[in-house]
Amino acid sequence: MYKIVSKKELNSTVTMMDIYAPFVAKKAEAGQFIILRVNEDGERMPLTIAGFDREAGTVRIIFQVVGATTTLLNQKNEGEYIEDFAGPLGNPTKTDNLKKVAIVGGGVGCAIALPVAQKLHKLGCEVHSIIGFRNEDLVILEDEFKAASDKLIVMTDDGSKGRRGLVTEPLKELIESGEEYDEVIAIGPLVMMKFVVLTTKPYGVKTTVSMNPVMIDGTGMCGGCRLTVGGKVKFACVDGPDFDGFLVDFDEAIARSNMYKPFEERKREENCNLLNMKVK
């Protein structure tokens, strides 16, 4: 059992938790992930490590309430426990020899992008962050990004905060205006990452994407998380989660990520009904 040391709602659908897991906290690096189960018989759910405090022994997770398991997790409060918490899994994001990077985050993906930005910033790298959200209410971690970036551009789909439009627009402008990035790191929805790659490819700017396919064990045992990268099968949980964006077959990954959509929708409805009953 792993204790929820703190819980904070970042916006109406995104929650941040610090979990007491000293073994994981001791080893965690930006870019790695954990797998948790909220309760016995729960689903194994991967979440990227959004931060850690080695001394306090805590690991930070930030999640968007989208399905049955995230709904269950969100019902847990500070001081309560979750059943399982294993990690750190996957490889840390490579940060060696980077002098100037653009970090592109989309939605809850920004939570994952932040520790990477912080780490690079600390290492003395020039960090330009472009973070995108649907609207003002969904903006998260703006101050944290400001502190970790030399340049920050906030985008919203409807213009209710920052600039109106997609993250790829300012990215393209920056590259065209002569910014020479060693690397662009994109973390967010698959479609966003696909378009970031389409934006950077013509300029040949190395682009790293963080892939989050459906997973079960997270240890390389099942192959459920496989992707095609450069024509070869790769397991996101052990070979990734970061991959060279130019080589990832996004269309395949997008198709695979929809595998359980009908199931998820049914589950969420069941859960909502259950909750409504309890409220009554």
């Binding site: 689903e43 059943e83 990690g87 750190p88 064990d217 192959g223 099968v233 929809n258």
Partner: protein
Amino acid sequence: MANMSLNKNPMPTQDPKVRAKNFLEVATGYSEQAALDEAARCLNCKNMPCVSGCPVNIHIPDFIEKVREGDFEEAYKIISKSSSLPAVCGRVCPQENQCEAKCVRGIKGEPVGIGRLERFVADWHNEHSSAVETAPEKNGHKVAVVGSGPAGLTCAGDLAKSGYEVTVFEALHTAGGVLVYGIPEFRLPKKIVAKEIETLKKLGVKIETNIIIGKTLTVDELFDMGFEAVFIGSGAGLPRFMGIDGENLKGVYSANEFLTRSNLMKAYEENSATPILRAEKVAVVGGEMLRWMLQERRFALAQKRFILYTVAPLKNFLQDRKRLSMLWRRALNSNFFAIL
């Protein structure tokens, strides 16, 4: 006087019509009567050929003799001197290639049902015995075991019996390895595995789940923590894909993924939190699952139709049981399972 019947006492099973609709164990196990009768088929051979076929050299004629005398607890004690997982091995060991392949009764007729007797004895003990397992006196040495599959558990059990302080580290949330994530409930009920693990805990074995050695802790750190030896039993269960067109399409599973969803995560249950695809039409590629299905005569999730694509000719599979089970174990990982 030995029972000279040429045939083993048959294994009672659930009615096929009933078992097709549930996930309960198919084979229901010998009654006391059947066990006594089967035990009487053993000739108590002096040179014990059966023992030479057993990887852990269980004193087979000795335990069978105790069964014949009706002293099932004593029979259990004899088995557990050599095996830490009798209820599991009695069910899933390929006895037809091991002890039973060497049994002299197999020359003229069927060999003694050693596996069935082992299972009977273990189940009898688990149900009736009031004997309390106690941790033996500690010898002051600490050993770490990586992986809680049958290899790790056996190692842990043997060491604990000799007084070592053993901690098993498991990457997943449940101990058991393939026994819990791979082998289906109807072949090896999870509560049997849990019971065997309880027995190990009573012997003083500690089990730490959610620890991935190499990630959460390294082997060097284990030594720093005071472990003097590390046994690595991490399994060989990694799927290898064949590079066939369409292999990564939505709906294509590796055997391991399908089994893990179904068994470890209990996706066969109606209200499971973990999803699994259910389709009208199923294609299975590879020979391994074929044996599994022939053996169980049904397909776990009761699809209406399935098509088998085997990598070896079907005829050979059907004719050659030995080869089949060898292939089963050797090639498990190279096959994949598709629901299209």
